[in-house]
Symmetry: C2
Subunit: 254 residues, 2 copies
Amino acid sequence: MQRLKLTIAYVGSRFHGWQIQATPGKPHPRTVQQVLEKAAAHILGRAVHVHGAGRTDSGVHADAQCAHMDVPEEKANFNWRRALNSLLPDDVSVLAVEPAPPGFHAQHSAVKKLYTYRLWLPREYVLPAWRPFVWTCGPVDLAAMEAAACHMTGMHDFASFQNQGTDVQTTVRTVYGIRSCSEPGVPQELLVAWQFEADGFLKQMVRNLMGLLVAVGRGKISADRVAYVLESRNRAHAGVTAPAHGLTLTRVSY
Amino acid sequence: MQRLKLTIAYVGSRFHGWQIQATPGKPHPRTVQQVLEKAAAHILGRAVHVHGAGRTDSGVHADAQCAHMDVPEEKANFNWRRALNSLLPDDVSVLAVEPAPPGFHAQHSAVKKLYTYRLWLPREYVLPAWRPFVWTCGPVDLAAMEAAACHMTGMHDFASFQNQGTDVQTTVRTVYGIRSCSEPGVPQELLVAWQFEADGFLKQMVRNLMGLLVAVGRGKISADRVAYVLESRNRAHAGVTAPAHGLTLTRVSY
């Protein structure tokens, strides 16, 4: 068998997230993993498992999700990208397929992930092309948010920012950086893109960090409060979860 | 009465173009003008006409379409932008509402229009977020297209590039410029944006010019042939009409 590494982009709006969900007696909700496995199985003539670098929530987008799948040697040099894209729906596309290096595992070999969360600032209008990709949060104090973000970077126990639903051995993660930047071609008074890079993220951790940053940006809590929220290791202290559709998985590093 | 100037953005995918279309006994197809007039009428409590700078075809997008409407003096200083946007669907947004200068007419006062047509170049994949806004035409020879575009600029009789369906007094138009440029944040080997600026455009003229340019870019006809097509004043010589969804109305100048 040959392991292949896939790089995949999708618009998450009409997907129930990455992961296949099976409930006995009910039809499968539409997920990215499901449409990929279906297309790959069609090509191979048998079922195949496509293993992602991580789950993305329902509604979350990806510019470059990664995954691996194992195929017979005689299918290793097949034009997988073209074949998969000819079968996939319009809202998902395979950007690259390459032979994986020895021992590669899309999830376990990942050393860093970069997520982008987009905030739309004007209260009175939204550019319709951006609407599926932004949280229309209204005006925020960027300087206060940047001060709060400083408290979040580094190695911390992020238990306060983890939603229920997965078993993890530890809630300690290292956040390498959180920074605000402009979207190319869009004035910064309209849209601010927040980038979060870490060695890994807990369930809904980016959305919970963003939710707290926006609370700071709205003046509802102080930037210094973030340190207390982290130390409390209590989900109830961190506040709202930012909406899924503002979030995009931008890069997985190996 | 006070005349207001509206600036409007929309994603054209789910609209049957700008213009209200009435067929007796049939439901109106969903158009941008129709949803705007419906929202404005809801606010005013009576019917109102929203007059656009020009029609856009079914599926064509707009970053800044312009229009005017006349409202009673007592409603002139009302927050029209906020009120309209609270009633409009997600795929259309009013960016600005301002008092129109004396004698202003959205269609007749327009002196220039700028359209952008986006081409997606890789054959093997499309970024899903861009798919609704590009023609996936495959690789093209940009230098040849630029040479062909030179023949199109200036004052010409564009009868060869006009589709049937509207009465115009003259098919002479002045094209100020046609140029290819990068989309901010997207590598030019993936996407090329073509901008067309003129004092006005005939029905489907941009899409017909783009269709011919892509035929040149694919090596199907020579750049010099464009001069002949123009001179022939014969629609049959100009070839295919580029798909509507690659086209965006970028700016109307007054």
